[in-house]
């Protein structure tokens, strides 16, 4: 784990093994599978944002000759009010079921109510008109303020706010409250020479994956049913479908197709349980896809937020107190990432006194789903904007202010534990000496920077490596590949075994062919699945040594293995991995290495981003002139894919800050449910995204890897927000900084 280590393959920019299929159109994604006899499913969606369902009649649809089956909430056998024990896990299952197909209420415009399966896509769509639904329409609640005010319409009659000192006695739209503290902020603010206090808000945004949700399923009474879908976690899909349909895990096989983007949004289920019910009832394979409009109206966005932040500091820049109140929109069901937001908001700072309070609030919008470092971008946007304002008030360089207060090894976080070795200071110093920071700022442009933090996780991964008699082999793993991770698995195995990467073929296996793997997310894959690959390769080395010992008639202790060669320490003999495999039949059979682990020791990743933005004062249009993303990767296994994560996260954050938002009518209908008006960044919007990979190794991983996928979306919101503030000379407190908003601010200023 030393930084000075020389590697054969780690750190190279190999061609990804799945690349050929991806550039030729051969790779199969979620909507690409058709099966013999397949029929098509379609979903009836709510025209109201908030209503009770008073009647649901599917009989006409069922009777139609083109319709094979119809599904409603009643088809979920295990979700039954009396059968449920009270407890968090069960309530999550009820919420998932009611989100997939509405129970007694529809809670957002687009909420699925029923589904039909018919011979063709067109017939299925037409059959939806045969379903009659009666509604008792209620007033929708579309903002946090509307949700929490007295007399607000309540989405869930049984929602009693969790986490209050006095238990709630009346139902409300606040699912939970949380509080974290360290030291005493009252003392800290009393000590401060300068205080900054502001309110901020961020909009509802979508993860924006280009591939809509899709699935092809085949229910089978005589063996495992098959679900093909694009997902970040096929084992999780298996578990949820099994729970919803009261099936055993072994009765369901989930095949992870290639996935066209997830970013956290493909870690739940929408179509799969419905399609399986339709397949069971019809006796046919069923395919279902979401349109882009459906994706916006009915799949999880990232929570909108409202925050207030107060920071106090001495005139020398020592921050004495940090305080925040965070409200997150959970959408129709509880479960915004309010918790991680509260935990991450001030983690880049080593400050004695902190207090954070958070609220999880339901509103009549789609149920929020995870989006890259869930909860952190919203919270850290507010904190970093306030820190930049503080720097300005103190007349201090924003990097110097952060260096003075930077979290480091031994810093106690607000959520309790002390940080171990981390790379924030290294990132800040890299930012300070970067070509970007050293460059002159264009006239009329503003420059902003921000820090960001995310925990990263480890978790369960299972890997097998099979070797063939000629020394080639397969790496069987179970982490759906959302960004090129198969290349890194290949490189890590090759490094340990001392062979060329191309001799080992990495495969993401389905739930029957590999043991449990936790969802690809949480920036865990290169870290945890990588660790399992390394351990499986080490298992192979032990076996290779034992086999070589047999061939040489010595004991395994007399065999060493280096760089792909087994050495007989008591003579000059040596055998390559391939030579040992060629004789595997003689020495006991073919060789398989395995590791099923629950990886511990994931290291957090800090980042610092720099941004220069020009604003046209006549139109409010923003131009990103220059952008640099600096982040601690621990050790970059494949630098191109690490850079890619930095760049992808940065651009999602730029979109969140400059243009993306859900626009709602007063009735709760999303008015921009398409890529024309939900404006994600285009190639023409952006400059080169410069990257600097900092490597402060994570001592818990054999190669020093830290997860990198998520942190990169955290700094851009405030880096951009601050750059815009500087450019227009007015404080930005509300995202996105879209042209009409900026123009209004500029014009009101006069």
């Amino acid at each position: 784990m030393s930084e000075a280590r020389e590697y054969q393959h780690i750190g190279q920019r190999t061609i990804r093994p799945d690349g050929f299929d991806k550039v030729t159109g051969k790779a199969n994604y979620g909507a690409d599978l058709s099966l013999p006899g397949m029929i098509w499913g379609a979903i009836l969606r709510s025209p109201h944002a908030h209503a009770k369902i008073t009647a649901l009649d599917v009989s006409q649809a069922e009777a139609h000759p083109d319709v094979f089956a119809v599904a409603t909430y009643q088809d979920f056998p295990s979700v039954n009010a009396e059968a449920l024990a009270a407890g968090t896990a069960r309530k999550d299952l009820v919420d998932t079921a009611a989100n997939v197909l509405a129970d007694t209420k529809v809670l957002y415009h687009g909420h699925a109510i029923a589904a039909v399966a018919a011979r063709t896509e067109a017939a299925a769509q037409a059959a939806l008109d045969l379903i009659t639904v009666a509604y008792d329409v209620m007033e929708p609640v579309l903002t946090i303020d509307a949700a929490i005010k007295d007399g607000a319409p309540v989405l869930h009659d049984d929602m009693m706010t969790q986490g209050l000192a006095e238990p709630a006695s009346v139902a409300s739209n606040i699912a939970a409250r949380m509080e974290l503290k360290k030291g005493d902020v009252a003392v800290g603010f009393a000590d401060a020479d300068v205080i900054v206090e502001r309110a901020y808000e961020t909009p509802t945004v979508h993860q924006g994956y280009i591939e809509p949700h899709a699935t092809t399923v085949r229910f089978d009474d005589n063996g495992p049913s098959m679900i093909w879908c694009p997902t970040q976690g096929h084992f999780d899909v298996r578990a949820r479908v099994a729970q919803l349909l009261n099936m055993e895990l072994g009765q369901i096989k989930v095949v992870a197709s290639e996935i066209g983007g997830g970013f956290g949004g493909k870690t739940t289920v929408y179509l799969e349980p419905v399609a399986l019910i339709l397949s069971k009832k019809s006796g046919r394979p069923v395919k279902m896809t979401m349109s882009r409009e459906d994706v916006f109206r009915a799949s999880g966005p990232a929570s909108a937020s409202q925050s207030t932040v107060k920071i106090g500091a001495k005139s020398d820049g020592t921050i004495t107190a940090m305080q925040a109140s965070l409200h997150y929109e959970a959408g129709a069901f509880k479960g915004s990432p309010m918790g991680p937001g509260c935990m991450t908001i001030f983690t880049p700072y080593d400050v004695e006194n902190m207090y954070v309070e958070g609220f999880d609030v339901v509103v009549n919008k789609p149920k929020a789903a995870a989006y890259r470092a869930p909860g952190a971008p919203q919270a850290e946007f507010a904190a970093e904007m306030a820190v930049n304002e503080l720097a300005s008030k103190l007349g201090m360089d924003p990097i110097d202010l952060r260096l003075k207060n930077a979290a480091k090894e031994g810093t106690q976080t607000i959520y309790g534990p002390k940080l171990k070795t981390v790379g924030l200071e290294a990132c800040l110093l890299a930012a300070q000496s970067s070509p970007h920071y050293q460059s002159a700022l264009k006239d009329n442009a503003g420059r902003g920077l921000a820090a960001g933090f995310w925990f990263n996780i480890g978790g369960q991964s299972s890997v097998m490596i099979h070797l063939n008699p000629d020394g080639t082999g397969s790496i069987i793993e179970g982490s759906p590949d959302i960004g090129g991770s198969r290349a890194s698995m290949q490189m890590m195995a090759a490094e340990v075994l001392g062979v060329a990467p191309a001799t080992l073929n990495p495969i993401v296996a389905d739930t029957e062919h590999v043991a449990y793997n936790q969802t690809t997310g949480g920036s865990r894959t290169t870290f945890a699945t990588g660790m399992a690959v390394i351990e499986a390769a080490e298992d192979i080395i032990e076996q290779l040594k034992a086999r070589a010992a047999e061939l040489w008639n010595v004991t395994p202790e007399q065999v060493d293995y280096q760089n792909g060669i087994a050495l007989n320490l008591s003579s000059d003999d040596h055998l390559s991995l391939a030579e040992i495999c060629a004789k595997a039949e003689k020495t006991g059979g073919q060789i398989t290495g395995r590791a099923n682990i629950n990886a511990r020791g994931a290291g957090p990743s800090f980042a610092v981003h720099l941004c220069d933005i020009e604003v046209d004062p006549e139109t409010g249009k923003t131009d990103v002139l220059r952008y640099t993303a600096i982040q601690d990767a621990g050790k970059a296994i494949h630098p191109s894919y690490v850079e890619g994560q930095f760049q992808g996260g940065a651009v999602q954050g730029i979109g969140w800050a400059l243009n993306e938002e859900y626009v709602y009518s007063a009735d709760g209908v999303m008015e921009n449910a398409g890529f024309l008006d939900y404006r994600i960044p285009l190639a023409s919007d952006l400059p080169e995204i410069e990257t600097i990979i900092v490597e402060v190794p994570n001592s818990f991983h054999p190669f020093g890897v830290r997860g990198v996928g998520e942190t990169g979306i955290v700094p851009p919101l405030a880096a951009v927000g601050t750059a815009v503030s500087e450019a227009i000379g007015l404080p930005v407190t509300s995202l996105p900084c879209s042209p009409p908003k900026l123009l209004k601010m500029i014009m009101e200023q006069g």
Binding site: R13, I15, R16, D18, G19, F20, K22, V23, T24, G25, K26, A27, N28, Y29, A31, D32, S34, A122, Q207, G208, Y209, I210, E211, P212, E258, I259, G260, G261, G262, F263, T289, S291, R292, I482, G483, G484, H638, S640, Y641, E643, G644, Q647, G648, A650, V651, Q652, G674, F675, L676, I680, P681, L682, A683, S684, D685, L686, E688, I689
Partner: protein, 158 residues
């Protein structure tokens, strides 16, 4: 009532049946079985369904199947020659210009169209030409680097 359509697809004579309202995208994927062309939005905003139709770059979700009668269609599946990748495809791999890869087929087709029209684009020209191809994973940086590198190599007569 379905219409019979005859086309040339990636150099092959291909016939299919489709209803008047079916898009070319739907026909390619579901009638002909070439799933390399992707649906990202169905409304011509994302470029994932880009194909060449009689030499013009189009969103196949905005073209009806019946409009393809007598036309030449080129999809991503027609760009490599058996196992020999086109320079553009090689450069996309070399520069790691794809992460999830869903936008890649559309981008490969669009890039080929760009470089046929303008063999020496500036970076800005490339970015604007490809603005109709949305990518959510890469931030476009490595895509543009791949495109500019491919342009250089192709100009040198590779």
């Amino acid at each position: 009532m379905k219409t019979h359509v005859s086309t040339t697809l990636n150099g092959d004579a291909v016939e299919f049946l489709c209803t008047p309202s079916e898009t070319l995208l739907h026909v390619l994927r579901n009638e002909i079985g070439l799933t390399g062309t992707k649906e990202g939005c169905g409304s011509g905003d994302c470029g994932a369904c880009s194909v060449m139709l009689d030499g013009a770059l189009v969103c196949s979700c905005l073209v009806l199947g019946v409009e393809a009668e007598g036309s030449q269609i080129e999809t991503v599946e027609g760009i490599a020659h058996q196992d020999k990748l086109h320079v553009i495809q090689e450069k996309f791999l070399e520069h790691a210009a794809l992460q999830c890869g869903i936008c890649t087929p559309g981008l490969i087709v669009s890039t080929k169209a760009l470089l046929e029209e303008n063999p020496q684009p500036t970076e800005e020209e490339a970015r604007y030409y490809l603005a109709g191809n949305l990518c959510r994973c890469t931030g476009y940086d490595k895509i543009i680097k791949a495109v500019m590198d491919a342009a250089d190599v192709m100009r040198q007569g590779a």
